[in-house]
Symmetry: C2
Subunit: 202 residues, 2 copies
């Protein structure tokens, strides 16, 4: 799939294949799908992307994507404002919300510390988190970052930065997935789940 | 993943997930990828799609996507103009071109006959194929359509339409794929490859 019969087609495929995980062949399929739609449908597709990019705003408190200055979660009266769950990105907020197990607020870092990718503590929303903890009556910060080296680094950095504020800092439990077989759990996860075992309480 | 924090985000995800095989989760990942790009990058992405849709033109002879009235293949002096390979769509032209085994022209139907999807002979470029065969000195029509029920129906319909023109009509060979194990070849394909066996010639 190298020679495109049209430069317009090639340009569209090129753009489409810039999306993560989309190769040239899938991109061509997507583009030819759009080509079969009405012009106004393609217009709507294109303008949804540019409108989002040009008009997107972020909540000034938690930095989640929001249509309002203060997002619905931060402005909700029924949420526990003493709890802040720190996540990497927007998807993670939606994922935690879907559990139905959390009723506090969020703080979206917009990334995690990754020296390999040139992302340092100043590139993500850590200073604003420290400010929130100092000024907004937060009693516990729950770190829900990826269980990777970068996630651990970020967890530790945030813990150090928050140490002298007196706030309680916790991180989400790591262990065998619910429904997971012991046999197929990787050794590191299984090892940690043994070290961090939880006592039955009557 | 149901509650989007922003209507702009939701609209973009909605549009992105209209692409074939793209679910809500992948669409969200794509959209948030675009959101991390510069506004002009997203602008370029969007305009490549709308430009293609609004400015696309098709070769007046073979109906392939083309930037010119006559596509480079149809206007090439080195291609054999007596041979016409009939394919379903643009991808198939690219795929046959990639084999490097074909030096004739193409005819892009833009679909195949599929009563289930409401696609009849008049909805695809069959009349124009018959006209080409009658007027353009074509000596052989090679049918390279999908080996499905719809493909077979279309093959047979085209064969019938061309019967009284005296043109030779062939279809691409069906059989065990090159590199394929006999053990794992489905029975119908294997059966046909036995019926249509090819004699060794010294």
């Amino acid at each position: 799939m190298n020679d495109y019969p049209s430069v317009l087609l090639e340009a569209a495929v090129q753009q489409m294949s810039s999306l993560p995980g989309v190769g040239k062949r899938t991109a061509l399929r997507h583009v030819l799908h759009l080509l079969r739609q009405k012009p106004e449908t393609v217009e709507a597709f294109a303008s949804a992307m540019t409108r989002l990019r040009n008009e997107v705003t972020y909540c000034r408190v938690c930095h989640n994507i929001s249509d309002t200055e203060l997002c619905p979660i931060c402005s909700s009266r029924s949420r526990d404002k003493h709890l802040v769950c720190v996540v990497e990105n927007v998807q993670d907020v939606m994922q935690v919300e879907n559990t139905g197990q959390y009723n506090g607020l969020y703080h979206v870092l917009g990334g995690i510390i990754s020296p390999m990718d040139g992302v340092g503590p100043k590139d993500i929303e850590i200073d604003s988190l420290v400010e929130r903890v100092k000024n907004d009556g937060v009693t516990e910060v729950i770190l829900a970052l990826p269980t990777t080296m970068e996630g651990d680094t970020t967890n530790f950095y945030i813990f150090r930065r928050l140490q002298d504020t007196g706030v309680k800092v916790s991180q989400i439990a790591r262990g065998v997935a619910v429904g997971g077989e012991i046999e197929y759990t990787d050794e590191i996860t299984l090892g940690r789940s043994i070290v961090n075992r939880i006592e039955f309480k009557a």
